[in-house]
Amino acid sequence: MSTRIPTRRAAGPAASRTGRLLSWLAPLLTVGGLIALWQGYVRWHEVDPIVLPAPTDVANALWRDRELLLTATEHTLLVLLLGLVAALALGTLCGIALHRSPALRRALEPLLVGSQAVPIPILAPLLVVWLGFGLTPQLVLVVVVAFFPVAVATRDALAGLSPETALVLRNLGATPAQRLRLVELPGALPGILTGVRLAVVFAVIGAVFADATGQSATTAADPTSSGGLGRIVADAVPQLQTDRAFAAIVLLVALSLALFWSLGGVERRLDRRSSPSLPI
Protein backbone atom coordinates (compact mmCIF):
# COMPACT_ATOMS: atom_id res chain seq x y z
CA MET A 1 0.00 0.00 0.00
CA SER A 2 1.86 3.07 -1.17
CA THR A 3 -1.01 5.40 -1.93
CA ARG A 4 -0.44 8.66 -0.21
CA ILE A 5 -3.39 10.37 1.24
CA PRO A 6 -2.99 14.07 0.59
CA THR A 7 -3.29 16.01 3.77
CA ARG A 8 -3.06 19.68 4.49
CA ARG A 9 0.20 19.26 6.29
CA ALA A 10 1.68 17.21 3.48
CA ALA A 11 1.27 20.19 1.16
CA GLY A 12 4.05 21.95 3.05
CA PRO A 13 4.70 25.48 4.23
CA ALA A 14 4.08 27.03 0.81
CA ALA A 15 0.46 25.91 0.94
CA SER A 16 -0.03 27.28 4.43
CA ARG A 17 1.35 30.62 3.27
CA THR A 18 -1.19 30.73 0.44
CA GLY A 19 -3.82 29.75 2.97
CA ARG A 20 -2.91 32.64 5.20
CA LEU A 21 -2.90 35.02 2.24
CA LEU A 22 -6.32 33.75 1.24
CA SER A 23 -7.67 34.27 4.74
CA TRP A 24 -6.69 37.93 4.43
CA LEU A 25 -7.76 38.23 0.85
CA ALA A 26 -11.23 36.75 1.25
CA PRO A 27 -12.71 39.48 3.50
CA LEU A 28 -10.96 42.18 1.44
CA LEU A 29 -12.50 40.79 -1.72
CA THR A 30 -16.03 40.59 -0.34
CA VAL A 31 -15.89 44.09 1.16
CA GLY A 32 -14.13 45.51 -1.93
CA GLY A 33 -16.66 43.87 -4.23
CA LEU A 34 -19.56 45.25 -2.26
CA ILE A 35 -18.08 48.77 -2.36
CA ALA A 36 -17.56 48.47 -6.13
CA LEU A 37 -21.19 47.37 -6.58
CA TRP A 38 -22.37 50.26 -4.44
CA GLN A 39 -20.26 52.76 -6.40
CA GLY A 40 -21.47 51.35 -9.71
CA TYR A 41 -25.14 51.44 -8.65
CA VAL A 42 -25.00 55.06 -7.42
CA ARG A 43 -23.15 56.28 -10.52
CA TRP A 44 -25.24 54.26 -12.99
CA HIS A 45 -28.58 55.38 -11.58
CA GLU A 46 -27.35 58.87 -10.70
CA VAL A 47 -28.69 58.56 -7.14
CA ASP A 48 -28.93 61.81 -5.21
CA PRO A 49 -25.95 61.85 -2.75
CA ILE A 50 -28.34 63.08 -0.03
CA VAL A 51 -30.22 59.81 -0.34
CA LEU A 52 -27.22 57.54 -0.86
CA PRO A 53 -23.71 58.95 -1.23
CA ALA A 54 -21.25 56.95 -3.31
CA PRO A 55 -18.27 55.36 -1.55
CA THR A 56 -16.06 58.04 -3.12
CA ASP A 57 -18.31 60.73 -1.57
CA VAL A 58 -17.95 59.01 1.79
CA ALA A 59 -14.18 58.82 1.39
CA ASN A 60 -14.22 62.50 0.49
CA ALA A 61 -16.25 63.34 3.62
CA LEU A 62 -13.84 61.29 5.72
CA TRP A 63 -11.00 63.51 4.55
CA ARG A 64 -12.95 66.78 4.51
CA ASP A 65 -14.32 66.40 8.05
CA ARG A 66 -11.26 64.63 9.41
CA GLU A 67 -10.82 66.91 12.43
CA LEU A 68 -14.45 66.70 13.48
CA LEU A 69 -14.47 62.95 12.92
CA LEU A 70 -11.20 62.42 14.76
CA THR A 71 -12.38 64.15 17.95
CA ALA A 72 -15.66 62.26 17.71
CA THR A 73 -13.81 58.96 17.28
CA GLU A 74 -11.64 59.74 20.26
CA HIS A 75 -14.72 60.46 22.34
CA THR A 76 -16.49 57.28 21.27
CA LEU A 77 -13.36 55.19 21.80
CA LEU A 78 -12.98 56.62 25.31
CA VAL A 79 -16.60 55.80 26.18
CA LEU A 80 -16.23 52.33 24.69
CA LEU A 81 -12.98 51.46 26.44
CA LEU A 82 -14.02 52.82 29.84
CA GLY A 83 -17.42 51.18 29.50
CA LEU A 84 -15.94 47.85 28.46
CA VAL A 85 -13.42 47.82 31.29
CA ALA A 86 -16.20 48.59 33.77
CA ALA A 87 -18.45 45.97 32.14
CA LEU A 88 -15.64 43.41 32.31
CA ALA A 89 -15.06 44.10 36.01
CA LEU A 90 -18.75 44.18 36.93
CA GLY A 91 -19.68 41.30 34.65
CA THR A 92 -16.92 39.05 35.99
CA LEU A 93 -17.84 39.84 39.60
CA CYS A 94 -21.50 39.28 38.85
CA GLY A 95 -20.69 35.99 37.06
CA ILE A 96 -18.67 34.80 40.05
CA ALA A 97 -21.49 35.74 42.42
CA LEU A 98 -24.06 33.94 40.25
CA HIS A 99 -21.83 30.88 40.12
CA ARG A 100 -21.26 30.83 43.85
CA SER A 101 -24.77 31.32 45.15
CA PRO A 102 -27.78 29.58 43.64
CA ALA A 103 -30.01 31.79 45.78
CA LEU A 104 -28.41 34.90 44.33
CA ARG A 105 -28.79 33.42 40.87
CA ARG A 106 -32.52 32.97 41.34
CA ALA A 107 -32.81 36.43 42.84
CA LEU A 108 -30.86 38.26 40.15
CA GLU A 109 -31.77 36.37 36.98
CA PRO A 110 -35.03 38.27 36.29
CA LEU A 111 -33.26 41.58 36.89
CA LEU A 112 -30.39 40.68 34.59
CA VAL A 113 -32.55 39.44 31.75
CA GLY A 114 -34.94 42.34 32.32
CA SER A 115 -32.14 44.85 31.98
CA GLN A 116 -31.46 43.45 28.52
CA ALA A 117 -35.09 43.58 27.47
CA VAL A 118 -35.36 47.34 28.00
CA PRO A 119 -34.91 48.95 24.57
CA ILE A 120 -31.80 51.13 24.38
CA PRO A 121 -33.51 53.99 22.45
CA ILE A 122 -35.90 54.39 25.38
CA LEU A 123 -33.31 53.94 28.10
CA ALA A 124 -30.84 56.43 26.60
CA PRO A 125 -32.89 59.65 26.98
CA LEU A 126 -34.11 58.51 30.41
CA LEU A 127 -30.52 58.13 31.59
CA VAL A 128 -29.83 61.67 30.40
CA VAL A 129 -32.81 62.90 32.38
CA TRP A 130 -31.61 61.06 35.48
CA LEU A 131 -27.89 61.61 35.22
CA GLY A 132 -27.58 64.81 33.21
CA PHE A 133 -25.46 65.42 30.14
CA GLY A 134 -21.90 64.34 29.92
CA LEU A 135 -19.95 61.12 30.09
CA THR A 136 -21.84 59.46 32.95
CA PRO A 137 -25.09 58.47 31.20
CA GLN A 138 -23.12 57.27 28.17
CA LEU A 139 -20.88 55.09 30.31
CA VAL A 140 -23.84 53.72 32.24
CA LEU A 141 -25.59 52.76 29.03
CA VAL A 142 -22.51 51.01 27.65
CA VAL A 143 -22.04 49.12 30.91
CA VAL A 144 -25.71 48.13 31.10
CA VAL A 145 -25.68 46.57 27.65
CA ALA A 146 -22.14 45.13 27.75
CA PHE A 147 -21.96 43.57 31.18
CA PHE A 148 -24.68 40.99 30.59
CA PRO A 149 -22.78 38.86 28.04
CA VAL A 150 -19.69 39.03 30.26
CA ALA A 151 -21.64 37.93 33.35
CA VAL A 152 -23.32 35.04 31.54
CA ALA A 153 -20.08 33.90 29.91
CA THR A 154 -18.27 34.06 33.25
CA ARG A 155 -20.96 32.08 35.03
CA ASP A 156 -21.03 29.41 32.32
CA ALA A 157 -17.25 29.19 32.13
CA LEU A 158 -16.96 28.81 35.90
CA ALA A 159 -19.56 26.05 35.88
CA GLY A 160 -17.32 24.10 33.49
CA LEU A 161 -15.08 22.83 36.29
CA SER A 162 -15.13 19.04 36.33
CA PRO A 163 -16.57 17.39 39.46
CA GLU A 164 -13.33 15.38 39.81
CA THR A 165 -11.22 18.52 39.99
CA ALA A 166 -13.66 19.87 42.55
CA LEU A 167 -13.11 16.67 44.59
CA VAL A 168 -9.34 17.12 44.42
CA LEU A 169 -9.66 20.71 45.60
CA ARG A 170 -11.85 19.70 48.52
CA ASN A 171 -9.44 16.93 49.41
CA LEU A 172 -6.54 19.39 49.34
CA GLY A 173 -8.47 21.69 51.65
CA ALA A 174 -8.37 24.61 49.22
CA THR A 175 -10.15 27.76 50.37
CA PRO A 176 -12.84 29.24 48.11
CA ALA A 177 -10.43 32.04 47.23
CA GLN A 178 -7.70 29.57 46.25
CA ARG A 179 -10.17 27.56 44.27
CA LEU A 180 -11.17 30.67 42.34
CA ARG A 181 -7.63 31.98 41.82
CA LEU A 182 -5.79 28.74 41.07
CA VAL A 183 -8.38 26.77 39.17
CA GLU A 184 -11.70 28.37 38.32
CA LEU A 185 -10.67 31.75 36.89
CA PRO A 186 -7.70 30.51 34.82
CA GLY A 187 -9.94 27.82 33.37
CA ALA A 188 -12.72 30.30 32.70
CA LEU A 189 -10.52 32.96 31.12
CA PRO A 190 -11.10 31.97 27.47
CA GLY A 191 -14.84 31.81 28.04
CA ILE A 192 -14.88 35.21 29.74
CA LEU A 193 -12.94 36.71 26.82
CA THR A 194 -15.49 35.34 24.36
CA GLY A 195 -18.13 37.10 26.43
CA VAL A 196 -16.17 40.35 26.24
CA ARG A 197 -15.87 39.98 22.48
CA LEU A 198 -19.65 39.69 22.22
CA ALA A 199 -19.99 42.61 24.58
CA VAL A 200 -17.99 44.82 22.20
CA VAL A 201 -20.75 44.63 19.61
CA PHE A 202 -23.43 45.55 22.15
CA ALA A 203 -21.24 48.27 23.63
CA VAL A 204 -20.85 50.03 20.28
CA ILE A 205 -24.62 50.14 19.83
CA GLY A 206 -25.00 51.42 23.38
CA ALA A 207 -22.35 54.09 22.89
CA VAL A 208 -23.96 55.36 19.69
CA PHE A 209 -27.43 55.65 21.21
CA ALA A 210 -26.11 57.28 24.35
CA ASP A 211 -24.22 59.74 22.22
CA ALA A 212 -27.05 60.46 19.85
CA THR A 213 -29.53 61.34 22.60
CA GLY A 214 -27.05 62.77 25.00
CA GLN A 215 -26.12 66.23 23.95
CA SER A 216 -28.28 67.56 21.14
CA ALA A 217 -29.12 70.65 23.18
CA THR A 218 -25.52 71.59 23.81
CA THR A 219 -23.99 70.54 20.54
CA ALA A 220 -26.42 72.39 18.27
CA ALA A 221 -24.41 75.56 18.52
CA ASP A 222 -20.95 73.98 18.58
CA PRO A 223 -20.86 70.57 16.96
CA THR A 224 -17.24 69.96 17.88
CA SER A 225 -17.74 70.32 21.64
CA SER A 226 -17.66 66.78 22.97
CA GLY A 227 -19.96 64.59 20.96
CA GLY A 228 -19.00 61.16 19.70
CA LEU A 229 -19.68 59.45 16.40
CA GLY A 230 -23.30 58.79 17.34
CA ARG A 231 -23.81 62.52 17.76
CA ILE A 232 -22.38 63.14 14.29
CA VAL A 233 -24.74 60.63 12.69
CA ALA A 234 -27.73 62.07 14.57
CA ASP A 235 -26.84 65.64 13.54
CA ALA A 236 -25.72 64.97 9.97
CA VAL A 237 -28.89 63.27 8.74
CA PRO A 238 -31.31 66.16 9.44
CA GLN A 239 -28.67 68.55 8.07
CA LEU A 240 -28.74 66.54 4.83
CA GLN A 241 -25.04 65.76 5.16
CA THR A 242 -25.55 62.09 4.47
CA ASP A 243 -21.94 61.63 3.36
CA ARG A 244 -20.74 62.73 6.80
CA ALA A 245 -23.17 60.36 8.49
CA PHE A 246 -21.80 57.52 6.36
CA ALA A 247 -18.24 58.55 7.15
CA ALA A 248 -19.05 58.33 10.88
CA ILE A 249 -20.64 54.92 10.37
CA VAL A 250 -17.54 53.72 8.54
CA LEU A 251 -15.46 54.78 11.53
CA LEU A 252 -17.87 53.06 13.94
CA VAL A 253 -17.59 49.83 11.99
CA ALA A 254 -13.80 50.16 11.93
CA LEU A 255 -13.77 50.73 15.70
CA SER A 256 -15.90 47.66 16.40
CA LEU A 257 -13.81 45.49 14.12
CA ALA A 258 -10.55 46.74 15.63
CA LEU A 259 -11.78 45.99 19.16
CA PHE A 260 -13.28 42.65 18.16
CA TRP A 261 -10.13 41.52 16.37
CA SER A 262 -7.69 42.68 19.00
CA LEU A 263 -9.66 40.76 21.64
CA GLY A 264 -9.54 37.76 19.33
CA GLY A 265 -5.78 38.24 19.22
CA VAL A 266 -5.60 38.25 23.00
CA GLU A 267 -7.62 35.04 23.05
CA ARG A 268 -5.32 33.35 20.57
CA ARG A 269 -2.23 34.45 22.44
CA LEU A 270 -3.72 33.07 25.64
CA ASP A 271 -4.47 29.84 23.86
CA ARG A 272 -0.92 29.56 22.58
CA ARG A 273 0.55 30.31 25.97
CA SER A 274 1.47 27.07 27.69
CA SER A 275 -0.89 27.48 30.58
CA PRO A 276 -3.26 30.28 31.39
CA SER A 277 -2.90 31.34 34.97
CA LEU A 278 -3.46 34.53 36.84
CA PRO A 279 -0.45 36.77 37.43
CA ILE A 280 -0.55 36.13 41.16
Binding site: L169, N171, Q178
Partner: protein
Amino acid sequence: MSVVDDPAPPAPGTSQAEQAPHTPASPAPSVVAELRAATVRHGETTLLPPVDLTVNAGEVVAIVGRSGVGKTTLLHVLAGLLAPTSGDVTAHPAALMPQRDGLMPWATARDNAALPLRVAGLPRADARAQAERQLDALGLAGLGGRRTARLSGGQRQRVALARTLLTGRELLLLDEPFAAVDALTRDELHDLLLAHLGAEGRAAVLVTHDVEEAVRLADRLLVLTRGAGLVMPAVPLLARPGDRLAARGGESLRAAVLEELAR
Protein backbone atom coordinates in the same frame (compact mmCIF):
# COMPACT_ATOMS: atom_id res chain seq x y z
CA MET B 1 -15.52 11.24 61.69
CA SER B 2 -12.29 12.44 63.09
CA VAL B 3 -8.99 12.96 61.41
CA VAL B 4 -6.04 12.59 63.69
CA ASP B 5 -2.33 13.01 63.18
CA ASP B 6 -1.42 10.37 65.67
CA PRO B 7 -4.15 7.77 65.86
CA ALA B 8 -4.47 5.42 68.76
CA PRO B 9 -3.00 1.97 68.13
CA PRO B 10 -5.58 -0.55 66.93
CA ALA B 11 -7.55 -2.27 69.59
CA PRO B 12 -5.82 -5.51 70.59
CA GLY B 13 -7.35 -8.68 69.31
CA THR B 14 -9.07 -7.25 66.22
CA SER B 15 -8.71 -9.40 63.18
CA GLN B 16 -7.17 -6.57 61.14
CA ALA B 17 -4.32 -6.16 63.56
CA GLU B 18 -3.50 -9.83 63.28
CA GLN B 19 -3.54 -9.64 59.52
CA ALA B 20 -1.10 -6.75 59.34
CA PRO B 21 1.91 -7.76 57.26
CA HIS B 22 4.91 -8.39 59.38
CA THR B 23 7.86 -6.33 58.28
CA PRO B 24 10.96 -6.91 60.33
CA ALA B 25 12.22 -3.38 59.77
CA SER B 26 9.29 -1.82 61.61
CA PRO B 27 8.26 -4.15 64.38
CA ALA B 28 5.25 -2.08 65.40
CA PRO B 29 3.58 -0.88 62.22
CA SER B 30 1.71 2.35 62.85
CA VAL B 31 -1.85 2.70 61.68
CA VAL B 32 -2.62 5.43 59.14
CA ALA B 33 -6.33 4.77 58.77
CA GLU B 34 -8.96 2.76 60.52
CA LEU B 35 -12.63 2.10 59.87
CA ARG B 36 -14.83 0.40 62.46
CA ALA B 37 -18.26 -0.69 61.27
CA ALA B 38 -18.41 2.40 59.12
CA THR B 39 -21.49 2.70 56.94
CA VAL B 40 -22.90 5.36 54.69
CA ARG B 41 -26.62 5.53 54.01
CA HIS B 42 -28.63 8.00 52.04
CA GLY B 43 -32.25 7.61 52.99
CA GLU B 44 -33.14 3.99 52.26
CA THR B 45 -30.10 3.38 50.08
CA THR B 46 -26.96 1.88 51.53
CA LEU B 47 -23.98 3.53 49.85
CA LEU B 48 -21.43 1.68 51.97
CA PRO B 49 -22.10 -1.58 53.85
CA PRO B 50 -20.48 -1.88 57.30
CA VAL B 51 -16.71 -2.06 56.83
CA ASP B 52 -13.88 -2.82 59.24
CA LEU B 53 -10.49 -1.93 57.89
CA THR B 54 -7.10 -0.98 59.23
CA VAL B 55 -4.44 0.45 56.96
CA ASN B 56 -0.89 0.29 58.29
CA ALA B 57 1.93 2.58 57.29
CA GLY B 58 3.60 1.52 54.07
CA GLU B 59 1.10 -1.12 52.97
CA VAL B 60 -1.11 -1.31 49.91
CA VAL B 61 -4.71 -2.35 50.46
CA ALA B 62 -6.73 -3.10 47.37
CA ILE B 63 -10.50 -2.85 47.40
CA VAL B 64 -12.29 -5.00 44.87
CA GLY B 65 -15.97 -5.35 44.26
CA ARG B 66 -18.71 -4.93 41.72
CA SER B 67 -19.87 -1.56 40.46
CA GLY B 68 -22.06 0.35 42.86
CA VAL B 69 -21.02 -1.62 45.92
CA GLY B 70 -19.46 1.42 47.59
CA LYS B 71 -15.78 1.32 46.67
CA THR B 72 -15.59 4.99 45.78
CA THR B 73 -17.73 5.89 48.79
CA LEU B 74 -15.25 4.08 51.00
CA LEU B 75 -12.40 6.16 49.58
CA HIS B 76 -14.36 9.36 50.10
CA VAL B 77 -14.95 8.39 53.72
CA LEU B 78 -11.23 7.77 54.19
CA ALA B 79 -10.46 11.09 52.47
CA GLY B 80 -12.73 12.92 54.90
CA LEU B 81 -15.00 14.09 52.07
CA LEU B 82 -17.92 12.11 53.44
CA ALA B 83 -18.90 11.44 57.04
CA PRO B 84 -20.06 7.90 57.82
CA THR B 85 -23.69 7.55 58.87
CA SER B 86 -22.64 5.16 61.60
CA GLY B 87 -19.38 3.68 62.84
CA ASP B 88 -15.99 5.27 63.37
CA VAL B 89 -13.28 6.58 61.11
CA THR B 90 -9.84 7.70 62.09
CA ALA B 91 -7.40 8.56 59.35
CA HIS B 92 -4.30 10.55 58.68
CA PRO B 93 -4.73 13.24 56.04
CA ALA B 94 -4.99 11.30 52.80
CA ALA B 95 -4.47 12.28 49.17
CA LEU B 96 -7.27 11.33 46.81
CA MET B 97 -6.66 10.52 43.15
CA PRO B 98 -10.20 10.46 41.78
CA GLN B 99 -11.50 8.34 38.95
CA ARG B 100 -10.84 9.99 35.55
CA ASP B 101 -7.78 11.88 36.84
CA GLY B 102 -9.50 15.21 37.72
CA LEU B 103 -6.84 17.20 35.89
CA MET B 104 -7.42 20.69 34.56
CA PRO B 105 -7.25 20.09 30.79
CA TRP B 106 -6.31 23.69 29.98
CA ALA B 107 -3.33 23.73 32.31
CA THR B 108 0.11 22.23 31.76
CA ALA B 109 1.23 18.94 33.28
CA ARG B 110 3.54 20.99 35.52
CA ASP B 111 0.79 23.28 36.82
CA ASN B 112 -1.56 20.36 37.37
CA ALA B 113 1.02 18.47 39.39
CA ALA B 114 1.89 21.63 41.32
CA LEU B 115 -1.69 22.23 42.49
CA PRO B 116 -1.25 20.75 46.02
CA LEU B 117 1.88 22.84 46.54
CA ARG B 118 0.12 26.01 45.39
CA VAL B 119 -2.80 25.28 47.72
CA ALA B 120 -0.24 24.79 50.50
CA GLY B 121 0.92 28.33 49.78
CA LEU B 122 4.20 27.72 47.92
CA PRO B 123 5.23 30.45 45.46
CA ARG B 124 4.55 29.56 41.86
CA ALA B 125 8.19 29.17 40.78
CA ASP B 126 9.06 26.81 43.66
CA ALA B 127 5.92 24.77 43.15
CA ARG B 128 6.61 24.40 39.44
CA ALA B 129 10.23 23.36 40.03
CA GLN B 130 9.14 20.66 42.48
CA ALA B 131 6.40 19.50 40.15
CA GLU B 132 8.88 19.27 37.30
CA ARG B 133 11.15 17.02 39.39
CA GLN B 134 8.23 14.76 40.33
CA LEU B 135 7.16 14.51 36.68
CA ASP B 136 10.72 13.59 35.69
CA ALA B 137 10.71 10.86 38.32
CA LEU B 138 7.49 9.46 36.84
CA GLY B 139 8.89 9.32 33.33
CA LEU B 140 7.43 12.55 31.99
CA ALA B 141 10.70 14.44 31.50
CA GLY B 142 10.28 17.23 28.98
CA LEU B 143 6.48 17.13 29.03
CA GLY B 144 5.95 19.48 31.98
CA GLY B 145 5.07 22.39 29.72
CA ARG B 146 2.49 20.51 27.73
CA ARG B 147 -1.21 20.94 28.34
CA THR B 148 -2.77 17.85 29.83
CA ALA B 149 -5.50 17.95 27.17
CA ARG B 150 -2.75 17.05 24.71
CA LEU B 151 -1.30 14.13 26.68
CA SER B 152 -2.12 10.45 26.21
CA GLY B 153 -4.24 8.59 28.74
CA GLY B 154 -1.21 6.97 30.35
CA GLN B 155 0.65 10.27 30.54
CA ARG B 156 -2.35 11.93 32.17
CA GLN B 157 -2.49 9.21 34.82
CA ARG B 158 1.18 9.88 35.56
CA VAL B 159 0.45 13.58 35.96
CA ALA B 160 -2.43 12.78 38.30
CA LEU B 161 -0.16 10.44 40.25
CA ALA B 162 2.49 13.17 40.46
CA ARG B 163 -0.13 15.55 41.82
CA THR B 164 -1.23 12.95 44.37
CA LEU B 165 2.35 12.22 45.48
CA LEU B 166 3.14 15.94 45.81
CA THR B 167 0.52 16.32 48.53
CA GLY B 168 3.18 14.78 50.80
CA ARG B 169 0.49 12.83 52.61
CA GLU B 170 1.36 9.36 53.83
CA LEU B 171 -1.86 7.72 52.69
CA LEU B 172 -2.82 7.70 49.01
CA LEU B 173 -6.37 6.91 47.96
CA LEU B 174 -6.39 5.74 44.35
CA ASP B 175 -9.76 5.32 42.65
CA GLU B 176 -9.34 2.95 39.69
CA PRO B 177 -6.18 4.78 38.69
CA PHE B 178 -5.29 2.51 35.79
CA ALA B 179 -8.72 1.64 34.43
CA ALA B 180 -8.40 3.77 31.30
CA VAL B 181 -4.91 2.78 30.12
CA ASP B 182 -3.72 -0.07 27.92
CA ALA B 183 -2.23 -3.22 29.40
CA LEU B 184 1.42 -2.39 28.67
CA THR B 185 1.15 1.08 30.16
CA ARG B 186 -0.69 -0.40 33.12
CA ASP B 187 2.23 -2.72 33.85
CA GLU B 188 4.65 0.21 33.73
CA LEU B 189 2.45 2.27 36.01
CA HIS B 190 2.12 -0.60 38.47
CA ASP B 191 5.90 -0.86 38.78
CA LEU B 192 6.22 2.90 39.08
CA LEU B 193 3.59 3.12 41.81
CA LEU B 194 5.11 0.30 43.86
CA ALA B 195 8.60 1.78 43.48
CA HIS B 196 7.43 5.17 44.75
CA LEU B 197 5.36 3.78 47.59
CA GLY B 198 8.22 1.56 48.65
CA ALA B 199 10.83 4.30 48.46
CA GLU B 200 8.79 6.73 50.52
CA GLY B 201 7.11 4.26 52.85
CA ARG B 202 3.65 5.54 52.07
CA ALA B 203 0.47 3.55 52.31
CA ALA B 204 -2.16 3.31 49.61
CA VAL B 205 -5.76 2.20 49.36
CA LEU B 206 -6.43 1.20 45.78
CA VAL B 207 -9.89 0.73 44.35
CA THR B 208 -10.06 -1.52 41.32
CA HIS B 209 -12.46 -3.82 39.56
CA ASP B 210 -9.51 -5.76 38.18
CA VAL B 211 -8.77 -8.71 40.44
CA GLU B 212 -5.51 -9.36 38.60
CA GLU B 213 -4.35 -5.85 39.40
CA ALA B 214 -5.45 -6.11 43.01
CA VAL B 215 -3.56 -9.34 43.59
CA ARG B 216 -0.52 -7.94 41.90
CA LEU B 217 -0.30 -4.66 43.79
CA ALA B 218 -1.81 -5.27 47.16
CA ASP B 219 -0.46 -6.48 50.44
CA ARG B 220 -4.03 -7.10 51.49
CA LEU B 221 -7.35 -7.21 49.76
CA LEU B 222 -10.72 -5.98 50.87
CA VAL B 223 -13.52 -7.65 48.97
CA LEU B 224 -16.53 -5.43 49.19
CA THR B 225 -19.92 -7.07 48.68
CA ARG B 226 -23.44 -5.84 49.23
CA GLY B 227 -23.44 -7.48 52.64
CA ALA B 228 -20.17 -6.32 54.08
CA GLY B 229 -16.49 -5.87 53.56
CA LEU B 230 -14.39 -8.96 54.02
CA VAL B 231 -10.68 -8.68 54.49
CA MET B 232 -8.76 -11.43 52.73
CA PRO B 233 -5.55 -12.83 54.16
CA ALA B 234 -2.31 -11.18 53.26
CA VAL B 235 -0.53 -11.98 50.03
CA PRO B 236 2.99 -13.23 50.72
CA LEU B 237 5.25 -10.20 50.53
CA LEU B 238 7.71 -10.61 47.71
CA ALA B 239 10.19 -8.21 46.24
CA ARG B 240 8.59 -7.79 42.83
CA PRO B 241 4.91 -7.65 42.03
CA GLY B 242 5.33 -10.10 39.15
CA ASP B 243 6.56 -12.66 41.63
CA ARG B 244 3.42 -12.30 43.66
CA LEU B 245 1.24 -13.64 40.93
CA ALA B 246 3.62 -16.51 40.43
CA ALA B 247 3.66 -17.26 44.11
CA ARG B 248 1.46 -20.09 45.28
CA GLY B 249 -0.63 -17.74 47.40
CA GLY B 250 -1.32 -15.52 44.41
CA GLU B 251 -3.25 -18.02 42.35
CA SER B 252 -5.32 -19.38 45.19
CA LEU B 253 -6.01 -15.87 46.42
CA ARG B 254 -7.18 -14.84 43.00
CA ALA B 255 -9.52 -17.81 42.92
CA ALA B 256 -10.77 -17.00 46.39
CA VAL B 257 -11.47 -13.39 45.49
CA LEU B 258 -13.34 -14.38 42.35
CA GLU B 259 -15.36 -16.87 44.32
CA GLU B 260 -16.19 -14.23 46.89
CA LEU B 261 -17.28 -11.79 44.20
CA ALA B 262 -19.47 -14.38 42.52
CA ARG B 263 -21.62 -14.87 45.59
